[in-house]
């Protein structure tokens, strides 16, 4: 793949950079522990601006990951151990800046792999990925398409895993029959709306109202909550809202005297939500993201390295900043490390081949490469996903549930609702 772009834009500089990258990949035999050329990993996500909360905490997590890996000897390739280091570029959630950043990371810094948040900036990077063959990862599988074979969604297959929470709820609390939903009108909210609609339909739960969409700039949620409660639903579903929305919505549900079940994709900083409402109110709140000190994560099937230690270290360094993105980028790195060591090389093509050779070691257990029907390519890693409930003020993993199982039974419903919201890969503009 590298040869492809050397032949296209061959200059002395490209040559130097690519040969530097190649030496980083192949390297020379080294004896000392992790004394080889450092392997550089690109981190291309928003670090400033309104979306920074989806990038910066992830970079903080990666720094901890790198320290832990380097202390344990680094990445063991065919020619010996290599330390790993991260090179970050702030793409400000803008496609043009992301393109510039990808170019810099690949052609100047010689990185072996680039992690992105994805979303709006991805289409700007896509031509660069195609031309250079660089391996990329995204947190948003809706970026996947058959056009780019080297883009993976290995951490979370948002929003498909949300079906596990609904299914768990239907089985464990069958008395809940009706639901309503609200979501912010953006690239994260809409596919999630379609997923929850499919999950509720599959579970035989009736939607009392059309999903209520609100603008991402909303600050006062009292009107939204008043509307949600107007039809007396058993379940209120908060879709995939950012914590900036989940908290005030929960606070308003409490203040407006909601007594039913709440289900949400995320509940980052749920301790603060409890402080704003009450322990009794939050009891039984269902969501999808466990605390990493949960004992269930020490089970055999979980592949995230030392989740409890990572969580403790993260909270020590960045108190109050823990959220889903804090571990997701690091979990991608776990997966990448395994693949690179299997391939014996950091070369993007070799790592990709090693990664997709058989099932992948997803953070929450062994998983398969999947997604052809939804994304046009099997580049999303799907397996079990935890259903988490708040019990006595603490998030507890209730169960790991299989996403493919659900999909094999109800895939047609998901496709139907995804199509209605224009979210299928071949419907994207």
């Amino acid at each position: 793949m590298l040869s492809k772009y050397i032949s296209k834009g061959f200059t002395r500089r490209t040559f130097l950079k690519t040969s530097a990258a190649a030496t980083a990949a192949l390297g020379l035999p080294k004896v000392a522990l992790a004394a080889g050329e450092p392997i550089k990993i690109g981190f291309l996500a928003p670090l400033t601006g309104a979306v920074a909360a989806w990038g910066k905490p992830g970079l903080d997590g990666c720094m901890i990951w790198a320290e832990r890996v380097n202390a344990a000897g680094g990445i063991m390739l065919a020619d010996g151990p290599h330390p790993v280091e991260f090179v970050a570029y702030d793409e400000e959630y803008d496609p043009a800046k992301a393109r510039t950043g990808a170019t810099k990371l690949i052609r100047e810094d010689g990185v072996s792999f680039i992690m992105m948040l994805g979303g709006d900036p991805w289409p700007g990077v896509q031509p660069v990925a195609e031309r250079t063959g660089m391996l990329f990862s995204t947190l948003l599988p809706s970026d996947l398409s058959p056009d780019t074979k080297t883009l993976l969604a290995p951490a979370e297959v948002h929003p498909i895993y949300n079906v596990t929470g609904v299914e768990w709820l239907a089985q464990n609390k069958p008395e809940l029959k009706t639901a309503v939903m609200c979501a912010q009108d953006d690239a994260l909210g809409l596919p999630s709306v379609a997923t929850y609609l499919a999950a509720f339909e599959a579970a035989g739960i009736e939607m009392l109202d059309e999903p209520l969409l609100f603008d991402p700039a909303t600050t006062d949620f009292a009107p939204v909550v008043t509307r949600l409660m107007a039809k007396n639903p058993d379940i209120i579903c908060l879709d995939t809202c950012y914590s900036d929305y989940v908290h005030p919505i929960a606070e308003q549900l409490f203040q407006q005297n909601f007594k039913g079940q709440i289900i949400s994709c995320t509940a980052d900083f749920y301790d603060q939500m409890i402080a704003k409402t009450s322990k009794e109110f939050m009891e039984g709140f269902i969501f999808q993201f466990p605390d990493f000190d949960d004992p269930a994560l020490n089970a055999e099937n979980v592949n995230f390295q030392d989740p409890n230690g990572f969580y403790a270290e993260y909270n020590k360094r960045h108190p109050g900043q823990w959220g889903a993105v804090s571990w997701e980028y690091a979990s991608i790195m776990d997966l990448w490390k395994v693949a690179a060591e299997k391939a014996g090389s950091a070369d993007p093509e070799a790592v990709l081949a090693a990664m997709k050779d058989g099932p992948g070691n997803h953070a929450f257990g062994e998983a398969e490469w999947w997604g052809n029907e939804l994304f046009g390519i099997d580049n999303a890693l799907v397996g079990d996903w935890p259903v988490v409930a708040i019990e006595d003020g603490k998030a507890v993993i209730k169960e790991f549930r299989s996403i493919p199982d659900w999909y094999n039974r109800h895939g047609d419903l998901l496709i139907k609702h995804m199509q209605a919201y224009g979210q299928m890969w071949d419907q994207r503009g």
């Binding site: 834009g9 510039t100 700007g124 009108d185």
Partner: protein, 325 residues
Amino acid sequence: MLKPMMFLLGAAALIALPHGLSFSQQEILVFMVINILLVMSYRLLTLTGEWSLGHVVIMGVGAYASALMTKNLGVPVPLGMILGGVAAALLAVLLSFPLFRMKGFYFLIGSFAAGEIIRLIWKRFREPFGGVRGISGIDPMPDFSIGFYSFDFFEPVSYYYFAGAIVAFCLWVLWRIEKSPVGLTFHAVHWQDKLAQASGVNLRAYRTLAFAIASGFAGIAGALQAHYVGTVNPNSFDIEVMVFVLTWAIVGGTTTFYGPILGCVLLTVINEIVLRGMGFEQARPLFYGAIMILSILFLPNGLESIVQKFIPRKSAAKSDRKAEA
């Protein structure tokens, strides 16, 4: 014959420029060239005294129009770019009916509202605008060869030459317009609108004309960007981007032709190269903001005022008319 010599030297320097830069700097250069066209088209509008907050959205109209026409109707990319400019100009004519009922501050905010409505329309109507995700996979400019140089439009150097040539041509047109009787009338509309009206100038028509021309060139800039990046979405044209255009124009100064170019080049280099290079990730907006404040405090007439000091009296006299008023 000093002038043609200077001109040739300048052109040679601009052609050589990207070869002295790193890859990412070449990318930044491409976007800077496009932004120069954007800010220069904005300047034409400001000549009539109106400051808009919708200019970046108008740029987006050109980008969306060109992207949709090339993608859905199979229009060739270069033609799509021109039609993108035309679409932006036509929309500007349409918008002029409500907007030119207002002046000054009201026009500023009115243009902002009009722009927000256009953006909400893009978000709301997934067909054909693609909703919040916008449009991706926009056709790139097809590669071609002119004998001694083959254009590969993935490479920033190639696109820089291509966009640079178009922008240079557009700037020349803008220059001609400004120096023509029409351009002089634009100035008159701004500074002496009562008088201009009394001498039979149709103020509204000239304002609309300036708005349409400015929007047309902004649309071309948008199309240039869309076919390079390959994607457009509503957030790429929001008020935060507009704020940057506004500051380039004001920090550079708008009384001379080169003022906004100075502002755009200097502020882009500071933000994208110097501050990034110094590693202030989180603090980058802080330094950028401080530099903006300092420059406006100490150079209230823009960066162009420094240049004017060093330029011989003759050419300074030319711009006196504008600068004084």
